[in-house]
């Protein structure tokens, strides 16, 4: 087995209390690698199609990668996955922080949680000592209180706690999972899966450093980023991702008022520049990272934002801010504190509230349904108030807790046209009218609309340095939907998924060659960009097969209608992809990926090439039975 791994996967069954450890082979590790790869493997192998994502048959998997916990910048990450209650498709999501490295130090590469506890519980892992403990005293409490309580109960401040919140307990379909209160496994509703298992938290403490193959080389690579970050990642330190607000607004693609506009008159008010000048009190970081891209904010009355929950990043500023038409930065920061305290996905929360605001303005939701609230765009206090209602499923919150796609179906009268989801997951803060390749990426993402395992076309308009290893050396327009752009989308997606298998942060500017050097130095495997891209491609194909086995078809690889309507103002007024263009691009992608052009099903030769013929057999068993 390669170094960097512990070689052990922990399995905890909450129904019968069984706790076991398995030790996959070296070949298994090099094939599935970790993170997303580990999750896709186990979900495809062990879940029966059609199960209830909120039932005991679902599994919740926390998976690290070989790089997790190795002392270099960007290695604080791990993934969480299961069948998503938001989409019914595969769910996986990643976060940085310190919990993943601690799980590795405790001696485990992954934790598979099965079944359902008979009462509120949490799992405590202290090296080899693994226990299922009573969590009744924590049920119904805010994240900060649970974090403090568990650390005090276990008597070790070094304990790292990951938890679902009140939102997860209440099975909000976009409840997420947090670690250390400020790092979020944000997407696909994994907090609801955790809550459905009566599992409030997993506390971890470990004492064995991660072993690497070439310690001197790891130190050399680590030193590079420690010395160079002010030059190559100074902006990330200064503004984190919040600097993006003004840029996307200038480009006319800042999601505004539920994606009806691309320019927000309050952009400067909610920008990172304004935050830095007013309420930013500190910066925060993840394990071994010198960049400190995370924000910490504090405000006085009326919102009294608590700095222990950090501060909003770009996605949250966009979703709770411009998407809801709210330009009061302190209200947005209060919203950020509340989604953190209740443990909700800030993207889905903001987009769902934005959707409700548009429904209200168009008369599809009445004042009676909103509980007397004037739910117009720009109503900051209403946005803040709705977050608590969603987390607790109170009033209108009960409807919105189902996610905007289900809410739209229930509201009816054309509300479906206002919802901005792909496969039922709310779109993040990147508009396909500006970044057209990303739009096709939304369609194809196995987890629904997602900007992390995707490309950002605007980044390739001036520089393509990062694409050199795959042979793309010419700049390309953000509006380009050619076959060549689809080829870039393919390798770009596969490489991002690989990052989520190895567990490297995409905000630390490691070049592809440096990533290979990191993996070589950590594992001792003589690998290459080619092999590592294949790792990403393999996980991507497994995720696609999982969804096809669940009954998804190529018709589900579709963009929400709103993105075909051009903006009336701003830098990209009049510009939008057409349904025909994106359909052709999607089918070009299928062919490039070795999937059938018309059905989108991976061809057998592709699965054999990726060494996952077994998953093809499994697909055939379910989808071709009787045929």
């Amino acid at each position: 087995m390669g170094k960097g791994y512990t070689g052990r996967i922990l399995r905890v069954n909450l129904s019968n209390g069984n706790i076991s450890v398995e030790t996959p082979s070296d070949t298994w590790y090099r094939t599935y690698f970790g993170g997303t790869g580990t999750i896709a493997y186990y979900l495809m192998k062990e879940l029966e199609p059609g199960i209830d994502p909120l039932g005991p048959e679902n599994k919740l998997i926390f998976a690290t990668g070989p790089v997790t916990g190795v002392p270099i910048a960007g290695s604080g990450r791990n993934s969480v996955g299961g069948k998503s209650p938001l989409t019914g498709a595969i769910g996986f999501t990643e976060a940085g922080g310190f919990w993943g490295p601690e799980l590795k130090r405790a001696g485990y590469d992954a934790l598979i949680i099965e079944g359902k506890a008979s009462k509120p519980s949490y799992i405590s892992i202290i090296d080899d000592k693994v226990e299922i403990r009573d969590a009744s005293q924590y049920w119904g409490k805010l994240a900060g209180d649970v974090e403090d309580g568990i650390k005090a109960e276990l008597g070790d401040k070094g304990t790292r706690v990951t938890q679902c919140g009140i939102a997860g307990e209440n099975l909000v379909r976009f409840a997420c999972i947090t670690n250390d209160l400020t790092h979020f496994y944000g997407r696909t509703g994994m907090g609801a899966v955790m809550g459905s298992k009566n599992l409030r938290a997993v506390a971890v403490r470990g004492h064995t450093p991660v072993e690497v193959a070439d310690k001197a080389k790891v130190s050399e690579i680590a030193k590079f980023m420690v010395e160079k970050w002010p030059e190559i990642a100074g902006g990330m330190h200064e503004y984190g991702t919040t600097g993006t607000i003004v840029n996307l607004n200038a480009a006319g693609g800042l999601p505004t008022r539920n994606f009806t506009q691309g320019v927000f008159e309050g952009a400067e008010d909610i920008s990172g520049q304004t935050m830095n000048k007013t309420i930013l009190i500190d910066r925060d970081s993840c394990f071994a990272c010198p960049i400190q891209c995370k924000r910490v904010v504090k405000t006085g009355a009326p919102y009294n934002v608590d700095p222990k929950y950090g501060g909003p990043e770009y996605e949250t500023l966009g979703s709770l801010g411009s998407t809801c038409g709210v330009k009061d930065l302190e209200a947005v920061c209060k919203g950020n504190e509340l989604v953190a305290a209740y443990v909700l996905d800030s993207i889905s929360t903001g987009v769902t509230i934005g959707f409700a605001m548009e429904c209200y303005e168009k008369g599809l939701l009445t004042k009676e349904q909103t509980g007397g609230v004037d739910l117009k765009f720009g109503n900051g206090p209403a946005m803040v108030d709705l977050i608590t209602k969603i987390a607790k499923r109170e009033g209108l919150g009960a409807l919105l807790a189902e996610g905007s796609a289900r809410a739209a179906a229930k509201i009816g009268n054309g509300a479906e046209k206002l919802n901005v989801t792909v496969k039922g997951q709310e779109a993040p803060m990147h508009d396909p009218r500006l970044k057209m390749g990303l739009g096709v990426g939304y369609m194809l993402s196995p987890t629904g609309a997602d900007h992390c395992h995707n490309i950002h076309d605007t980044g390739y308009e001036k520089r393509v340095d990062g694409l050199g290893p795959w042979g793309f050396v010419e700049t390309i327009k953000a509006t380009d939907l050619s076959t060549k752009k689809m080829a870039i989308l393919k390798v770009g997606t596969e490489w991002k998924i690989f990052d989520n298998c190895a567990q490297l942060c995409q905000f630390v500017p490691w070049s592809p060659d440096q990533v290979v050097d990191i993996v070589k130095a950590v594992t001792g495997w003589n690998t290459s960009v080619y092999e590592l891209t294949k790792v990403g491609e393999r996980a991507y194909n497994l995720a696609r097969l999982f969804n096809l086995r669940e009954g998804f078809t190529e018709r589900d690889d579709a963009l929400t209608k709103k993105f075909f309507t051009p903006f009336k103002e701003g830098a990209i007024a009049g510009v939008a992809p057409t349904p025909q263009e994106v359909d052709r691009a999607k089918r070009d992608f299928y062919e490039l990926a070795g999937w059938d052009r018309w059905t989108g099903v991976p061809k057998r030769w592709k699965l054999e090439e990726l060494n996952i013929g077994w998953a093809g057999d499994e697909y055939d068993r379910v989808n071709c039975a009787g045929g």
Binding site: N247, Q273, E315, H456
Partner: protein, 77 residues
Amino acid sequence: MRIKIKAFGTTYHLMRGGRESGEFELPPDATVEDALQVAGIDLQDVWITSVGGQQVKLDHLLKEGDEILVFSPVGGG
């Protein structure tokens, strides 16, 4: 003539000396591109430029007191 430049975006140190904004002296018929060169900003790092709230191209002619806003290309967020 004297013009101002203000840089935005995650590419923080756009200007020579790692600054976010600055004032520069330019000849009367200078363009946006001339100003960016004087400021030491690599054109590969420039995605959008605007003057007086309007997007302008690199060959846009400047006048005394103009403020150029420079936006770098954005990736993810």
